[in-house]
Symmetry: C2
Subunit: 352 residues, 2 copies
């Protein structure tokens, strides 16, 4: 039987483990996996594009474990009360091909994206950073805010969204963090002015310009999370020209990241080499750095490893997705297993 972690199981786990602690632990798993980058078989994700969005499959393997995530991105979904991003994934054994864990990854994607943003910022933002602009106040925003506050020392947040209702929602939710001063800005410019870090988490299936070069200030770290597929960007090209750009997996980011707007030889650095010290992090107080985040399968591999390890012994169900026949060459007998005269035992089902 396969382990199953649904929304309910993760909610139960989070009721006993604070979000910021989970994001911090995830960050550790993600860093450990990025640091052993050469061990992974890496490929750009398989994307099926349509007018309204994209559905992607993101596989990766380290030779022992195989993982993949299914994820969609449909910016207009919220108009019909649906999430812009939903996801789920599976962790499997390479030697047998058997899946071992099926898990929700909608919540977990928000957690691992924030964890990766903080991980990158640890190496790229100025050490004394304490103010962050947060542009885009939708589903991802609380996770980014909490991660940067609890794990990187951000104590002032300037939030902005074209939907004032979203900003109000974010402010309400962050009231639980009294040490974080939250200011609702009237524009992107107002949010960004004087900020150490600028996080953009907007959703729009086009080449938008949330941030233009005129808003840049020396020493800023830009955490560009929202743009993440061809034709979907947040930053004006001049912003990239002014910054040192760090990406996750270059072949994928050339297609999907902000750098899709630049020539193919525009210099970028992969995150793993910054983490291992092969490439420098921030090189001066004046430097403008950009983490051009699109989401890479390694982060979901880490998340699934984390879920398997931390929730796999209490906060999970069993699911009969894969049959367990008495004779592995007799699948036919499994097919007949539902008949009254069959001797195949019924699969046990754990109750909620």
């Amino acid at each position: 039987m396969l382990k199953y972690i649904g929304t309910q199981e993760l909610q139960q786990y989070l009721a006993h483990h604070p979000l910021e602690q989970v994001i911090g632990e995830l960050s550790t798993y993600i860093e450990a996996d990025y640091r052993r980058w050469p061990q992974f078989e890496k490929t750009a994700r398989l994307a099926a594009h349509s007018t309204l969005g994209v559905i992607e499959l993101m596989p990766i393997s380290d030779g022992t474990l195989y993982a993949f995530k299914y994820v969609n991105g449909h910016p207009r979904n919220t108009h019909q009360g649906l999430l812009t991003v939903t996801a789920f994934g599976v962790l499997a054994d390479v030697d047998t091909g058997y899946p071992r864990l099926l898990s929700e990854l909608t919540l977990s994607t928000a957690l691992r994206t924030a964890a990766t943003s903080v991980l990158a910022a640890r190496y790229l933002a100025r050490r004394d950073s304490h103010t962050m602009a947060l542009v885009g106040n939708g589903a991802q925003s609380e996770f980014q805010a909490i991660a940067f506050h609890a794990l990187l020392g951000i104590d002032e947040l300037r939030v902005f969204d074209v939907d004032p209702g979203a900003s109000a929602k974010l402010c309400r939710n962050l009231a639980a963090y009294p040490a974080l001063r939250v200011i609702q800005a009237g524009s992107v410019a107002e949010a960004v002015r004087g900020a150490d870090i600028v996080t953009t988490v907007t959703a729009d299936k086009r080449r938008s310009t949330v941030l233009d070069a005129g808003l840049l200030e020396a020493g800023m770290h830009l955490n560009a999370v929202g743009g993440d597929c061809p034709g979907k960007t947040e930053l004006a090209p001049a912003v990239l020209e002014a910054a040192r750009v760090v990406v996750e997996f270059e072949p994928q980011s050339r297609i999907e990241g902000e750098v899709q707007q630049m020539p193919a030889d525009f210099p970028v650095t992969e995150l793993w080499s910054v983490l291992t010290g092969a490439a420098p992090g921030r090189t001066s107080a004046q430097e403008i750095t950009l983490f051009d985040s699109v989401g890479f399968a390694l982060e979901d591999f880490s998340a699934l490893r984390y879920l398997d390890a931390h929730l796999g012994h209490g906060f999970h169900q069993s699911i009969d997705l894969i049959p367990a026949p008495a004779d592995a060459k007799d699948l036919y007998r499994v097919a007949l297993g539902g008949s009254k005269i069959s001797s195949v035992p019924r699969a046990a089902r754990a109750n909620a």
Copy 2:
């Protein structure tokens, strides 16, 4: 909530619907989808190879529905009591990216493979075919036997496997079909001699020669199911040279099928064009035809459509793989949903 069809749900369905009827209905769905081939966005599957096997993701979309299957192939798994092939898949809506059905596909793969084999044979084998050789008597074999007997009129089956225990198992299982005469052959040659159709469903991760050209007879139809990835074939190259070869999706079959052994310009015909009449089926009684089957995502798309339509109103569970927040921009509130003070309603869980 997502619909879930596990092993148990499919067993219950099959207890009320005979295997041969289900395979026949699947065959109809598969033919209908192959006939609208140009509507599908097609890609070769994403394969992660290892010494012991392969794990593949097989996505496909017709612009309205998106489907993918996860499947593994590990020929040595049976040595440890595990299935050689396990699988599961998801059907999703293209316009929202939301998955609608998660289903077991281990049993369903055996069903849809047999359905596709019969579909191809309907156009390629001689009309008066009544004897079939079945080489490889493992997990797939009963489904092939039952499909060809019930849907194509095969009344004599000559079975062979290097493992006599597997042959004995197959013979025992087919005793439920008294109109099918089953003969246990002492060799491949004995099984194949005088057969109208030869089905090979062996599992060995190498270039083996189950069938060599010396065993071919005029008019035979070869249903080559076992070989299905690079370095894994069943037929000697001379067999392909003697036959008219039909494949599912040429770009994928050039890599994975028996035709991987031939030059890149070796002529093949795609199955869809035979089904629509754009290319001929069998052209003479003497012709040797070969359906070089590897498994294509369209067949799983059809299977998932079938499962959604036929089991989706009674033989399924609900699963909380994707959250359903009250406010689609407030995923944070879902994360807090497990706490006692939360007002988010608990996801309902249907019991077995």
